[in-house]
Amino acid sequence: MRRRAFRDAFKVRNAGIFYALGALLTVLVLIAHFKGQPFYLRPVNAVNILEQTSLLAIVAIFSTVVLISGNFDLSIASTAALSMLVTIELVEERGLVVAVLGALVAATAVGVLNATLVQKLGINSFIVTLGTLTAVRGLILVVTNGQSVALEDQKAIDSLSRLYYPPISTPNLLLVAGALLLAAAVFRVWRSGRASAVSPLGAALAVGGAALLVAGAMTDARLQLVRPVWLMLAVALATTLVLRGTVVGRRLYAVGGSAEAARLSGIKVGWYKSGAFVAMALAAGIVGVLYAAQLTALNPNALQGLEFTAITAAVLGGTSLYGGSGTAVKSVGGALFLITLQNGFNVINLGPNWQSLVEGTVIIVAVAVYTLAARRSSAPIPGDAASESDFVLDESDADPQSKGARLGT
């Protein structure tokens, strides 16, 4: 069963975004090659892509959490910008710690406001967060009077920048990959219990691993990654562990899958939905602090549109807009895909007018491909009550007919 789950993870419908990313990278590598440009995935460019992806990916991961819970949060870009503003305004006079805490408190307050309006008053989350998106942005414009704010005190700039820079080096990636392959080969032999029975795959793993170790010993395959990239990796890992491996994660999926079924199973639906908003806002706050650390200045219109880019990344990663499904890692994949696409326009030298057209088309094609893949792999299975007409694939369980036909007993 476990092996089947492992193999299923590589099917197009489960890993679509990574196949799309692989295809995109291949195309860009080839284009760069034939245009006589340097290798597209050279370390400096790879690091660049990862850096641009990192903060978007963190927001996308928590957008995924909110989407899983069955809600939308459009206010995240404004919340992050608010956090930037508070950081920039406070850091010179009150110091870094107060500035960061203040920024996080302000951001979290927006999340609590969203959660309260949605859960206590029962207003649709799309509308509520559209409102906070606009209102919080308005607040920023009022406070800044529509003017950009830049830090001047060099000490403050230095202390704030240290949250973002300097880069931290990875270990030699070739050595790490080689060691992993060798370990996998050894594990296969150990599991089968006989050293004599080395399968072709096992042998390939061993040879490949050894080759990578040799290559790694000869080259310095280390990447210098800024702190947000490491944070992105940590957040992706932590969120994945919580979503997949804990009771809280399981219940969150249940709440988004069918709020009523979850409630009747004794789950505190309101807590989970509210918790998702607050976690999202806190993450937006952290992202805002990091943008402030990177830019040490605030344009009152900063980060506009981040919310939709984040939701797009989540959807590219296979997150359902109806709630109940989505994974953190695939949303990171979605964010990587979007940033790579934008980065790739420079390689192709495509004028800015064409970029949106291409981007939109690519997004639709990508989502269409694995929507179709998912549909094909779920042919109806015979069963008395499960006719094709009421077999629900990815939407919530809300079935308007049965709702309408509810008996008054």
Binding site: M1, R244, G245, T246, V247, V248, G249, R250, R251, A254, G257, S258, E260, A261, A262, R263, L264, S265, G266, I267, K268, G324, A379, P380, I381, P382, G383, D384, A385, A386, S387, E388, S389, D390, F391, V392, L393, D394, D397, A398, D399, P400, Q401, S402, K403, G404, A405, R406, L407, G408, T409
Partner: protein, 507 residues
């Protein structure tokens, strides 16, 4: 076994029809079926016997893997929903696919697409009145469908297929959610259409008495094969039940020597419950080791009472005590205290349809099945699912199968599996046997007794008096949101229950 009927010309025949699904499931094996012109043909079998697949083949939704479909003596080619409809085959499903926000008239002509839009309204109305007269009913054509009771909607679905010119109508469990009077109306309509208009029906139902009542011929499916074919006149309930369930008759036999539980410890006490949904001043006590039945007509407030008890709907006044302690905190508070709730609409409220059996079965008990620090232990969950599959004989490909693809009875068993292995001792069951086959129904009732025998307390709501009389230690009757009687099954009967439920006891 069948003589008279074979003299009639056949409208539809299946010859050696086999259906194998891409995942390898064989749903039908060499099924021969013959439907005579103008007859009402019953199709019965347990969940998973192949009824749905057969209906799907008749209605063109699926093609047979092997064998052929013969219509009016001609083998059909390119069998698809469109061709089947054009050939006069209509299907009415259990969940009627009507658009609630459109009017009756608009719904009836909905299936005709663009063609209907070009027909003048007056002509549509004429046709509608004609059809109404044919059925011998009257529904205001301008009413919005959402304001119609469920029984009317079934009739409307029938009108819809008739409007398309259907001469063979497949009825898939049309009465599963209907009241007694609504059923009678549907039956009259079916009889009238078959005798006067020569319209043929395939009637699928789990209600054996209905099948005996209504049909001319019965085909019994078992494990994807035709087990036997009968002229209904030669059948009785016992024979039919044996044929459906196979050799072992799984019908639930009530053990009359059940322990009386009058003095047992009270587990749940409801005191003066009132709700906005119409429950009026209801008080009762559930004791350990006891099955309490809840009976009433449609709209008597049974579901509302159960929902209020479980905290799914708020109480206006009154309180619910569990072992003497007042319960608070809505459904999470109830579940934490040890109260289980099986909702009426299991597909919508009881299960996460695209989750597998394993995750559905574990959702209410993750705390105990998990590891330290709130982590999940998939091993425990799979073990729980396997136990459930084994003990409740759930027909499934394994713990990893999505419950949305299980049959109705097996879905209900998964809902049971959620609660019965956990730390719960009060079980609130809302219509647990609706839409499940006789064998599963018997299993569920036996399970209900087991839960009580193990010291639990069960409150079971049902609109089937015979079911409650068979399983309950006492029966509460609800009318207009108020408790009107508490009856002892041994000293009561169906008529008495209905009399209390309808208020006839007063006259």
């Amino acid at each position: 076994m069948i003589r008279r009927e074979d003299a009639q010309p056949a409208l539809l025949e299946l010859e050696g029809v086999t259906k194998v699904f891409p995942n390898g499931t064989v749903a039908l094996r060499e099924v021969d079926f013959r439907l005579a012109q103008g007859s009402v043909h019953g199709l019965v079998g347990s969940n998973g016997a192949g009824k749905s697949t057969m209906i799907r083949i008749v209605s063109g939704a699926d093609r047979p893997t092997d064998g052929r479909v013969v219509l009016r003596g001609e083998p059909v080619h390119h069998w698809a929903p469109g061709t089947a409809r054009a050939a006069g085959i209509g299907t009415v499903y259990q969940n009627v696919p009507l658009v609630p926000t459109l009017s009756v008239l608009e719904n009836v002509f909905l299936g005709q697409g663009a063609a209907a839009a070009r027909v003048p309204l007056i002509a549509q109305l004429d046709r509608y009145l004609e059809l109404e007269a044919l059925l011998g009913i009257s529904i205001d054509p301008w009413t919005k469908v959402e304001s119609l009771p469920i029984g009317r909607r079934q009739l409307l679905a029938l009108l819809q297929v008739l409007a398309l010119g259907a001469t063979l109508i497949v009825l898939d469990e049309p009465t599963a959610s209907l009241s007694r009077t609504e059923r009678t109306i549907i039956f009259d309509v079916i009889r009238r259409l078959s005798s006067r208009k020569g319209i043929s029906f395939i009637y699928v139902s789990h209600h054996l008495s209905e099948v005996l009542d209504l049909t001319d011929t019965v085909t019994i499916l078992r494990d994807g094969r035709v087990a036997s074919r009968w002229a209904t006149a030669d059948l009785d309930v016992g024979t039919l039940l044996r044929e459906v369930t196979g050799a072992e008759l799984a019908a639930f036999e009530r053990s009359r020597d059940r322990s009386r539980s009058g003095g047992a410890e009270p587990l749940l006490e409801a005191q003066g419950l009132n709700t906005k949904t119409g429950v009026r001043d209801v008080s009762f006590t559930l004791r350990a080791g006891e099955v309490t039945g809840l009976f009433g007509m449609m709209g008597s407030g049974r579901t509302e009472l159960l929902r209020a008890l479980y905290g799914a709907d708020p109480l206006e006044s009154g309180e619910v005590r569990y072992r003497g302690r007042v319960l608070e905190g809505g459904t999470p508070g109830r579940a934490a205290a040890g109260i289980a709730f099986l909702p009426e609409d299991r597909r919508r409220d009881g299960l996460l349809l695209n989750w597998d059996v394993c995750r559905n079965a574990s959702i209410v008990d993750l705390g105990r099945l998990g590891g330290p620090l709130g982590t999940l232990r998939p091993v425990n969950e799979v073990e729980r699912a396997l136990t459930a599959i084994d003990r409740l004989s759930i027909v499934t490909q394994g713990p990893g199968q999505p419950v949305g693809t299980l049959s109705g009875g097996n879905q209900q068993k998964v809902v049971f599996a959620k609660w019965i292995f956990g730390d719960f001792d009060v079980f609130v069951l809302d219509e647990p046997t609706v839409g499940v086959d006789v064998a599963t129904k018997a299993q569920i009732l036996a399970l209900t007794r087991d839960l009580a025998a193990q010291g639990g307390s069960v409150l079971i709501n049902s609109s089937e008096p015979d079911e409650l009389l068979a399983v309950a230690d006492r029966i509460l009757v609800l009318r207009g949101g108020t408790l009107v009687a508490e009856l002892e099954p041994a000293q009561s009967n169906e008529n008495e229950l209905i009399a209390y439920a309808t208020g006839l006891d007063r006259t």
